[in-house]
Amino acid sequence: MEDKKAILRVENASRLFGSLRAVDGLSFEVYEGEIFGIAGPNGSGKTTLMNIITQVIPPNSGHIFFHDKPIHKMPSHKICHEGIGRTFQNPTVFESLSILDNMIIGSTFGKNHNRLQSNMDKIKEVLDFVNLDKPLDRIAGKLLVNDKKKLMMAIALIAEPSLLILDEPCAGLNISEAKESIELIRKIGEKGITVMLIEHNMQVLMNISDRVMIMDAGKKLCMGPPSHVCTNELVIEKYLGKRTAKGVKDIAES
């Protein structure tokens, strides 16, 4: 993986909320085509990190490069045009609009087109890919949580991002839905899209990620392949605990 090209480079990024350092001088790289997992205790700064990468909240200091282009001063919508897509922890869709309109919006603005893009073949292809089998005129707000999450993923995917940031895609899903979601992330990775994945479920993360970064108090605790991370003493002490670490290690090794 080391000889791979970095698609995203975060250098010394920090974000403060008052006196709280949510992200504290964090540096790392995400390589092209990998699934990069991020985990850590509640309040460790994972979602803030996603938000400063996508400029939902600008960083107080530091630099972020995407394909070697600085993006830390770019507005959020332009980051999407550069090729970074994202989903949210809570299923967020355009509630009052139909599935079709949600997809048209993703397709039109994701690529910064100035007229409506309603290529039905492409829309159906992406909806098939995420396995959302609902009538196109169904109002998005009336979908169930899992379907909303699929639609949110489809909106991000139809803009053809080269980096997709997923914030806890399995949160709120039952076991079979979570399995389907993991399978979908794997399929996205196979398409050559780089994935950055925040996930609390360490078994999921170790199972699917090429590399994992564990965060604690806004800092990087440990980063590397899953088998390396789950044997790290600091990670076991501060985050996993001995019993979980053993289970996770078995998964990572298998």
């Binding site: 967020t92 869709v93 048209i104 919006i105 409506l116």
Partner: protein, 327 residues
Amino acid sequence: MLKTTDNNRKLLLFYILMVLSLLALPLFIKNAYIMHLVIMTCVWGVVVNNWNLTLGYGGMFHIAQISLFAVGGYMSGIFINELMISPWLGLLVGGIFAALVSLIIGLPALRVKGIYLILLTYAFHYGIKELTDHFREITGGSMGLVVPRFRMAGVALQNWQLYYVILALLAVSVLLNWMVVRSYIGKALMAIRDSDILANSTGINPYKFKLMTFVMAAFVSGVAGAFYASYLSVIGTEIFSFTLIVNALGMIVIGGMGTLLGPMIGSFIITFFMEIFSGLEDYRPILVGAVIILVLLFAPDGLIQEGNKRWERWKSRGKKKSEELEV
């Protein structure tokens, strides 16, 4: 597909009938006062139609529309009086000044939302009112600004002729909004209204689209303001009353926020309601408030949406009955 075509045909027929009835209206209304009320319904129809574009479709909870309408009226009146331009040109002047002022207020105000946007636009509303009071030599202050009426070939137009003028403006306004709502701008607006954070990360610049529609809606409202001033031959500071803001918001809520025809139905109801109960004077706002509360309780999405829901329910019930009979 067949069903959609059939529905579209019915809808087209409905619109054609509606346009024909509106065109034929002066033939049936012989009472000058009723004609005046119809004209005022159309004036408020234009204002709330455009307020609805920003509020109902764009989710911008602002209260600047009436002040922008007033800016259009006052600036048109001032230009007509001071520069001796024709009231017809005054329509354009009203629109341009309302658009310019909306740009000035929109640039800072549309960066915030919710209660902050309401407060900022409320401050703007009173700022404009204070300015009209302050420059009373040219605005007429509390006495109002006298504005010449519309004329053609030296003859003042009658109310039935002015009805066609405001009807044309209303038609242009509805058509413009319909086009915006169906275009990528409309999709962006609705996306921003539903979730500006998702819209932003989907590649939409919320600020740009909000400002664009805010200015566009201000231009049309400004033209309506200019028409109002010349039609009534006067525009005064009562235009800034809080009651008027509540009435206009009531028109949108009663008719249906985020629908094209709803606000116009609302403007018809409120305008006639205010006149029917004109004898009650100061108690009228209480009655309007009661009507708004009743609509919010029994038809929270407005009369248009409620009508659609009931129609769909009635149709599905009819379908079920015919299926049962077939069985």
